[in-house]
């Protein structure tokens, strides 16, 4: 579901003889295509982006964003003084890294399982079932989750019935991360698998045929052909996930956290929401935190991209 090669084609730079204004005139039709999208971007992305300057200002509503006085890095001073901020940063990274490591292989595994299934109609049916939860909002899922995981819910009642100890999923700090992982796997694995499944279906079938002629078992085929072939897709998905480490999972956590888990659930986005709307501070402060988050996200994305390239992969920006 995520894009791979984000960059436009990089062709050999040929110094063209035509002057730039002629080039522009030649492509005038193309520019008209871009106008609707650009208007949207200017109105709803770039005009509001001026708001980022609030991070270095003391916001005064009556003077507007532009008129508010500059204060330099003062807002950041308050940000870094707040211990909950640092905790939120580490918690965000901790939750999302562990979540990424644990949940990442599941879609690949499921894709492999589905791919090996030979009944085509059944396969479609399975796909539908597995993909469906992805399209439900976390609001709905939280309704379902509370139903299933609460102390007298479906799962615990079953555990009780077979004589196992019940698990306090919703209200213990220890179980919070496992609960997030569990619900995330439940919701998103099927959808993640679709991408890998699609990648697998793009593999040249001749490779399998010749492997079978050589007498390779199905396991061997998976390891020797399927996995190496989908590796680029895997890399790209991984990079994109790393890039989102700082902002992943707001909806999930916002709708699933409660009093008992508030210490372990205040990730950066929840923190930002709270300081923007609930505690009594100004918007400059929360803008400073958001800016910080975006910067970290960018650094992570670029770093992951670099690592992928060093490892011989394609990376995002070719």
């Amino acid at each position: 579901m995520k894009p791979a090669a984000l960059g436009p084609d990089k062709k050999l730079r040929v110094r063209s003889a035509t002057p730039w204004y002629k080039e522009i005139w030649k492509h005038r039709m193309t520019y008209t295509l871009l106008i609707p999208g650009l208007i949207w971007l200017i109105l709803f992305a770039y005009l509001p982006m001026g708001g980022l300057s609030l991070a270095f200002k003391h916001y005064k509503a009556n003077e507007g964003i532009w008129g508010s006085p500059w204060v330099g890095f003062e807002n950041f001073k308050y940000v870094f003084r707040d211990p909950t901020f640092a905790q939120a940063v580490w918690r965000t990274l901790y939750i999302n890294i562990i979540k990424l490591i644990i949940t990442f292989p599941f879609p690949i595994l499921l894709a492999l399982l589905l791919n090996e299934l030979r009944m085509r109609k059944t396969k479609k049916l399975f796909q539908t079932v597995f993909t469906f939860p992805q399209f439900l909002s976390w609001i709905i899922v939280s309704g379902i989750v509370i139903n299933v995981l609460s102390y007298d819910g479906l799962l615990n009642s079953t555990l009780q019935l077979v004589g196992l100890p019940t698990i306090n999923f919703l209200g213990s700090e220890k179980m919070f991360l496992p609960m997030l992982i569990l619900t995330d796997v439940w919701k998103s694995t099927g959808w993640g698998a679709i991408i890998f499944l699609a990648a697998i279906s793009g593999i040249d079938q001749d490779q399998y045929e010749s492997a079978q002629i050589d007498g390779a078992s199905r396991m061997q085929q998976i390891f020797k052909i399927t996995l190496p072939n989908i590796l680029p897709t895997v890399t790209v998905m991984f990079i994109l996930n790393v890039g989102g480490l700082m902002s992943a999972g707001f909806d999930q956590i916002f709708n699933l956290a409660n009093a008992a888990t508030q210490n372990v659930s205040q990730v950066l986005d929840v923190y930002i929401y709270r300081i923007t709307f609930q505690s009594s501070t100004d918007f400059s402060f929360s803008t400073a935190v958001s800016l910080f988050r975006s910067l970290v996200n960018m650094v992570l994305l670029l770093a992951a991209d670099r690592v992928a390239k060093l490892m011989g992969g394609d990376g995002l920006f070719r």
């Binding site: 509503a61 308050y78 509370i146 102390y151 209200g171 009093a259 008992a260 508030q262 009594s280």
Partner: protein, 532 residues
């Protein structure tokens, strides 16, 4: 630059001149204001007034007779904006900051924000003579205390704090209504537990243990001896032992004249210990902290599986409880419910001194004079005796009448309420419903008497050896970045503390320590400003 500066006002003057001529041409009698009345005392001009409240007004509700009456009487069209509870602070903050406030809105007063808003001109400043022009509002406003204090700070009126009590104050000193519990009378009899007007937290836990052990309701594992959610537990267990454990008075001036942080007081630990004990013994529900809104009390009033619930001291709560029990359990609540006050383990009574306001009304800084005046006329009427009767009882002769003893009696069919007939009566914008609930004949007399009795008990207990957390105006009206940073959801923090494994005292100390970097700056600031 200079010419530009000059140009702007000139332009504005020119524009308004044009506007005036335009309106003057379009309307014959628009010479002076929009609040002129015709011969019968009706307003001539219809105004569209936008109002934002947390009362949900569904489609079509505005068409009912009640709303029509107000709209006709004051010749207004309501443009009603519904604010969902869970986005109330978010919305108002957004609206105020972006200058998009409706003409009049309910805002949950936050002092730091208030000072900011006034400073930036985001709230409408009342005309100096408003108190003479709208005497009913002024009288109720005076009782809130907050209004006068804020005027000292800002030199004008910017908000109308909503009075909780106006004509019908139940006791003096006024103590917060919280801290009243309901327990199962029938079970108490069955297990031989004495009925009293006040119990210590330990006594209540003893009751819970008794019903857990003897199970008079034959409920087995479904029984929830104390059906408190996190907030209820804070109110009825922690606060009962430590008056400064709540957010309202967490920072307070001690007897030594220095400022302290209540959650670090040893009394708070006493409360926490009780709460943990209750949790570990299974008196509280294993997942009480996940409960929202009325999930806790539903165990009592809907399912009938709870021994104790947090009720609160208003007569209307008791009435609602009665209705719910009647409807869901099919019995009369009078045989089943006993209400009482909660004391600390040392037998002392603790609660908050009640400030007489809850949330405020604010006006858009861009509101026109006509609209402001019209709204004030409406508020003034809603605050009058006649207006209060209308809001709380409906129309005289149709919905209620005076009986031979000159007491108002309801004419509504048995089992229905005014809310059923005229839903969402948000026109009672100013004085809160608490006030009228003390005298409202729609509420059973016994419930009203009991509520007043408990209020008076609280006042008495508080005065005689009890510990009421006074409302410290210095602290409440002090505003700084450090102070706003040091605000916590205490009920969640406490619930969290008692759930942690390991020794509670150690965890509590660790927790206090972890908050120091935010708390200490506030204490330092307060000490340097107000300590002696």
């Amino acid at each position: 630059m200079n010419t530009k500066k000059l140009l702007k006002p000139l332009l504005a003057v020119a524009l308004s001149a044009v506007m005036v001529t335009v309106t003057a041409c379009s309307k014959d009698s628009a010479s002076s204001g929009g609040n002129e009345k015709d011969a019968e005392g009706n307003y001539k001009d219809k105004l569209k007034i936008s109002v934002a409240q947390t009362t949900e007004v569904k489609d079509g509700v505005l068409d009912n007779e009640f709303h029509k009456y107000w709209m006709d009487k004051f010749n207004v069209d309501w443009d009603y904006n519904y604010v969902q509870w869970d986005s109330w602070p978010e919305k108002l903050r957004l609206w105020i900051n972006s200058g998009d406030l409706p003409d009049v809105a309910s805002w949950n007063y936050v002092h730091g924000d208030f000072m900011n808003y006034v400073d930036q001109g985001l709230l409408y400043k009342f005309p100096d003579d408003w108190k003479e022009r709208w005497p009913n509002i002024a009288a109720a406003y005076k009782l809130t205390g907050l209004g006068d204090k804020l005027e000292e700070l800002t030199g004008g009126t910017y908000i109308l704090p909503k009075p909780v009590y106006y004509q019908n104050k139940p006791a003096d000193p006024l103590v917060n209504q919280i801290g009243v519990i309901a327990l199962r009378k029938d079970w108490a009899k069955a297990v031989g537990f004495e009925l009293k007007d006040a119990y210590t937290t330990s006594e209540l836990m003893h009751y819970a243990e008794l019903i857990k052990e003897k199970d008079p309701g034959k409920l087995g594992s479904k029984l929830v001896p104390m059906s408190y959610n996190a907030d209820d537990a804070l109110t009825n267990i922690i606060m009962a032992n430590s008056e400064h454990s709540r957010v309202e008075s967490a920072f307070y001036k001690g007897e030594d004249g220095k400022f302290h942080w209540g959650p670090a007081d040893p009394e708070t630990l006493t409360g926490l210990k009780d709460m943990q004990k209750a949790y570990k013994e299974g008196l509280l529900n294993p997942e009480f902290y996940t409960w929202k809104n009325n999930e806790g009390s539903d165990n009592f009033r809907v399912k009938g599986v709870a021994g104790i619930m947090s009720l609160g001291g208003l007569a209307s709560y008791r009435q609602d409880l009665d209705k719910n029990i009647q409807k869901n359990l099919g019995v009369s609540s009078d045989d089943m419910v006993h209400t009482a006050i909660v004391l600390g383990d040392d037998g002392k009574y603790r609660n908050l001194e009640q400030v007489n306001f809850w949330s405020t009304l604010i006006f858009s800084p861009n509101i026109s004079k006509e609209k402001f005046e019209r709204i004030m006329d409406i508020l003034d009427y809603s605050t009058s005796k006649e207006g209060q009767m209308l809001i709380n009882m409906g129309f005289e002769g149709k919905d209620w009448k005076y009986d031979d003893k000159n007491e108002p009696v309801s004419l509504l069919p048995e089992g229905t309420t005014l809310e059923d007939k005229y839903p969402a009566r948000f026109e009672g914008l100013y004085v809160l419903g608490d006030d009228f609930s003390v005298v409202n004949p729609a509420i059973k007399k016994e419930y009203r008497d009991r509520a007043v009795e408990l209020f008076q008990d609280k006042a008495k207990l508080g005065k005689e050896g009890g510990k009421l957390a006074t409302y410290d105006w210095d602290v409440q009206l002090y505003d700084s970045k450090a102070k706003s940073q040091a605000s916590f959801d205490y009920q969640n923090e406490y619930a969290n503390l008692i759930l942690q494994s390991g020794d509670l005292e150690v965890n509590w100390k660790k927790w206090v320590q972890s908050k120091q970097s935010l708390v200490q700056p506030v204490l330092d600031e307060l000490n340097s400003k107000f300590a002696k």
